[in-house]
């Protein structure tokens, strides 16, 4: 089978960009695949190249100099014919084949039309990132309630503010840039409900002290939010969204130490949009079917097990970024770099031109960054846990599975009467997780209801994004050509 390159990188966010750039610098031919219309992933989400004059988003971004350096390196490699950049390509399957990998993607540059393509290379690097982790609450299925990542994507990708009066809730530092971005675009951010207590950081001060960059970032948000008179309310949560055909108000409650709403503290706030997010769930759809070993992360997610060079347990398969544990963009960039160095070493690539001492120094710096940022990520997960008693917000009628509209009552009954020990069994009994999103939204929550305390391992999804049967039928024909 003909191969398109020495390495396929899936995902052009911070990890994938950094990996691709380092592999290209090392002399490899790289295929970089991403579902977005442009490179950057969610963190550096941008409007398509030709639309950037009309949709200005630069002020919403961080570390843009790094993004531009990586994007420029890719452009140069593309011009030189060593980078095959496949944007708007949705990878639906990756399989081992003839000692290498075949990556199946739907080319959706002319969406809604699509063409299936197969990309082949001896090595594969998966950097597919993560998406917002959700906990259901009454009314979360009302239009106008979005994930905080969704609010951010509309803002960074389309220059659109989803509401004029917005409440945000959940846990984790990601609430802050979203609040700051919305406020910068004129939305009134009426509440930022952070379930955790800031004092939780005091139990693990070391990683924070060793990452001054994080202080600066935090101070920047604090200033921006203060300027817009946005208050972050620790130990509170949005426990209900209200409205008929769209959200018109939220109920906010103070939380007790276990995360249960403190009686008598609930108050109603009128809003026209809501953003919620409880950390992130790694996007493991391609990695689980490839059979690589998983390990438990502090935030309750199963993540891909990698060695100190970002190698998975499957030979030739590497992973970088949030799939190896949620830790933010600087960690992802450093992991991408390490992964590329491993690919170069394993491929027996010729030594890169230039000063070997400088190169060794850069590699050592990447290793230091990874160690320091991982320690920070662990502390962050412990400081921003899912509240133990979150399920007290649910009524029996609350929809848990948005696609199949399965209620909390049905899930609880399956766990109690049916004795379902995990989300897979709950799915069999109730259809929760069986709909369009295949449990990507409700999976972590159903898991918590069924098997709290164990790491969340997502269901194996053999098809990572829906493709039409018509396009599949054309696949054989294409292979024969």
């Amino acid at each position: 089978m003909s191969e398109q390159g020495d390495l396929i990188v899936v995902g052009a966010g911070p990890a994938g960009l950094s990996a691709a750039a380092a592999a290209l610098a090392g002399g490899l031919r790289v295929v970089l695949v991403d579902s977005g219309t442009t490179v950057g992933g969610q963190y550096w989400r941008h409007p398509p190249e030709h639309a950037r004059a009309a949709i200005r988003t630069d002020d919403l971004h961080h570390r843009l100099r790094e993004y531009r350096a990586l994007a420029d390196a890719l452009s140069a490699a593309r011009t030189a014919g060593r980078l095959d950049l496949r944007t708007a390509h949705h990878v639906w399957s990756a399989v081992r084949e003839d000692g290498g990998f075949a990556v199946h993607a739907a080319d959706r540059r002319e969406a809604p039309a699509e063409t299936l393509v197969v990309l082949r290379a001896p090595r594969l690097l998966v950097a597919t990132g993560a998406y917002d982790r959700q906990l259901p609450f009454p009314g979360w299925d009302l239009p106008g309630v979005l994930t905080i990542g969704g609010l951010q994507a509309l803002l960074k990708g389309g220059g659109v503010t989803a509401g004029g009066r917005v409440a945000l809730g959940g846990t984790g530092p990601f609430l802050l840039p979203v609040a700051a971005g919305l406020a910068a675009r004129g939305a009134e951010v009426v509440a930022v409900c952070e379930a955790a207590s800031p004092l939780a950081w005091l139990r693990h001060p070391g990683p924070l002290l060793r990452n001054p960059g994080k202080w600066a970032e935090g101070a920047g948000y604090a200033l921006a939010l203060a300027r817009h008179r946005v208050r972050v309310r620790p130990r509170t949560a949005i426990v209900r969204a209200e409205g008929d055909d769209r959200v018109t108000a939220v109920r906010i409650a103070s939380l007790a130490a276990d995360g249960s709403p403190r009686p008598g503290t609930e108050r109603r706030v009128e809003v026209d949009a809501v953003g919620v997010g409880w950390g992130f769930a790694p996007q493991l759809d391609l990695l689980v079917p490839l059979g690589c070993e998983l390990t438990a992360a502090e935030d309750g997610n199963a993540v891909v097990a990698v060695d100190d060079g970002q190698r998975t347990t499957v030979p030739g398969l590497y992973a970088a970024g949030e799939v190896c544990g949620v830790g933010g963009a600087p960690l992802a960039v450093a992991e991408g770099r390490l992964a590329a160095e491993s690919v170069l070493a394993d491929a027996g690539a010729a030594p890169v031109p230039g000063d070997p001492a400088v190169r060794a120094e850069r590699l050592a710096a990447a290793r230091t960054t990874v160690a320091r940022q991982r320690a920070f990520a662990r502390a962050m997960a412990l400081a921003h846990p899912l509240p133990a008693a979150w399920s007290e917000w649910l009524t029996d009628e609350t929809v848990v599975c948005r696609c199949e509209e399965v209620t909390a009552g049905a899930v609880r009954a399956a766990c109690a009467d049916g004795g379902a020990p995990d989300h897979r069994q709950v799915k069999q009994l109730t259809r929760a997780g069986m709909g369009w999103c295949q449990g990507r939204m409700c999976g972590p929550a159903v898991h918590c209801l069924a098997a709290r305390g164990r790491p969340y391992v997502p269901a194996e999804r053999l098809v990572a994004t829906p493709v039409t049967l018509g396009a599949l039928a054309g696949l054989d024909e294409m292979e024969e050509q």
Binding site: G150, L154, G158, G159, G435, R440
Partner: protein
């Protein structure tokens, strides 16, 4: 001005915006009705994961409005019933995208 059509009505967009972004910018947060409880839905995750924002675009059903860039003259429908044989994960789903005919949301 750039416009696409949704259920016969024009929606303006800025080149580069997705169908979902343009709809939200135009003040529409819901454009689909769920199968079981007939509840209104629009965009939730905004990045192609949740499938809440499904629409039919130029006759192709089951498209995520948050992923497809809006294009001049694109015909977006939420009203007709489309049947698409799509493989979603290990389950083969035959999906019916049901009616949301009024902009105000007549969701009985």
């Amino acid at each position: 001005m750039n416009e696409f059509i949704i259920d016969g009505r024009p929606v303006p967009f800025v080149e580069g915006q997705t169908v979902a972004a343009a709809l939200v910018a135009a003040g529409r947060v819901a454009w689909r009705t769920t199968r079981v409880r007939h509840r209104p839905r629009g965009v939730f995750c905004g990045i192609g994961v949740c499938f809440d924002c499904l629409v039919t675009i130029d006759g192709a059903g089951g498209r995520r409005a948050c992923l497809v860039p809006a294009r001049q003259g694109m015909n977006v429908t939420t009203g007709e019933t489309v049947t698409t044989g799509e493989t979603a994960g290990t389950t083969t789903t035959v999906t019916t995208v049901t009616t949301d005919t009024t902009e105000e949301g007549d969701h009985e």
